[in-house]
Assembly symmetry: C2
Homo-oligomer: 241 residues x 2
DNA sequence: TCAATAGTGTCTTTGAGACACTATCCG
DNA sequence: CGGATAGTGTCTCAAAGACACTATTGA
């Protein structure tokens, strides 16, 4: 009961440790990728884990997440959203740890990203080829993060957070296909995205093997334009939304 | 970084307190209601707050939430879902407190509910007539809980968690209207809910002033029947989902 | 010319929404 | 009968989806 908080004596209750873990997504050669770090010590030595760390007493949870994110990728100003909090008693053998998890979406064109340098044991993994077992309950966290990303894609403009500044419409379609795991119709995709009015044409084109591609940017100044992209109906069985 | 966890020395980091707070919804005379407790001491003495309490070291977060829920309402086996975690440094003047919040949906027909007995300072409030200021950042939490409930209603069968065992279709419609804050068309509602195939007819009827009402129950054994109820499109501007 | 990629047009089917209608009770 | 509440039928219009077509490049 909240009332017991009023009589709270700090020494009376054991306090758990609290960490913030960040599932960092990006697009790497047209595949959805996620950043993992390799653990060097017990427990789960040699296992891959979601990057994270302990919160400091004077920062908000989101600030902690941004700090971790910047430490790992050198990137600021990315999309960040709270996912869920995990806190089963046995999940960390050392002590009781509560993990507040976040999802981050990072643009593919940030060069510092490739700083998966060899000295620190950090690496990108395609979500379709993840390590078979992760440290702690991180499999579970990651699976949940992916399903959440998938479902949010359908009714938000989240996908743009993964794209470079300019892109072609078929590239955008490709991301949707990647993340939704489903082939989409080209014509219908063009129609929908154009009608949504959230793209600005640029004067750029990209040359390729066939007809050159017109490039677009995500229009910042869209008023309250909405973009609901529901190709699928099976957003149902997720608990927690 | 996760690695620092490996070198973790419990005494090296200050640990925050962790509470679990539960926003408990129910239906009380056809209105969506929420349970609040009145605080008796500093801080926020006399203010209404969302019920909650400190986690114990050997229980999961969900167990803690169920424990709180049962303490407040005497109810078990209700729908429970994690909402979000709040942890700004200044939110509790006593010490750093991280609150993991949950939403609970409680059936209206559990009699023990009315045990808002006068001795403990606990009471139901219609969400349309909430106290003007709540303790801590609980206004924020509550507002978020309501918006989440609203949006989940559109694509899940959550509303059934609020209803008694048997109910009429128009009662169900009424809940949707309550929570979505919008008038729905009777005919269309009948059509949709019937097509969804998630209701079982009972032999019961309820007599009233006009034509008696057929009563239904939510069918447990629906296979993978889905129910997407999207009358509205403005599920967009919520962050975090 | 063809292969390759980009982009458009159009028909069909579905389902949301509006709204008028019928049904069954009490007095 | 009329008022009150429950429940059904049906028309319209917009949008999703299927799919065939045109466009522009390089070799």
């Amino acid at each position: 009961m909240e009332e017991s908080a009023a009589t709270y004596d700090p020494s009376r209750y054991e306090r758990p440790s609290v960490t913030v873990d960040v599932v960092i997504f990006t697009l790497q050669n047209r595949e959805l990728n996620v950043l993992l770090v390799n653990r060097r010590r017990w427990p789960y030595e040699g296992y891959w884990a979601i990057p994270g760390g302990f919160i400091e007493m004077n920062e908000t949870l989101e600030q902690a997440a941004r700090r971790e994110l910047e430490e790992e990728t050198g990137v600021r100003d990315v999309y960040l959203e709270q996912l869920c909090t995990f806190g089963d008693p046995g999940r960390d053998p050392r002590t009781r740890v509560i993990s507040v998890t976040y999802i981050a979406l990072v643009r593919a064109d940030a060069q510092r990203l490739r700083a998966s340098d060899e000295s620190t044991d950090v690496s990108w993994f395609a979500v379709r080829a993840l390590p078979s077992a992760l440290a702690f309950d991180h499999d579970q966290i990651l699976a949940y993060a992916i399903s959440r990303l998938r479902s949010k894609l359908e009714y938000t403009t989240l996908a743009f957070q993964l794209l470079p500044e300019v892109f072609s419409i078929l590239e955008l379609k490709h991301i949707y296909e990647q993340i939704l795991g489903e082939k989409l119709d080209k014509g219908n995709f063009y129609r929908k995205i154009k009608e949504a009015g959230i793209l600005e044409e640029t004067s750029l084109v990209r040359e390729g093997r066939g007809r050159p591609t017109r490039l677009w940017r995500f229009s910042q100044d869209r008023g309250d334009k909405q973009f609901v992209f529901r190709w699928r109906e099976d957003r149902i069985n997720e608990k927690v939304e």
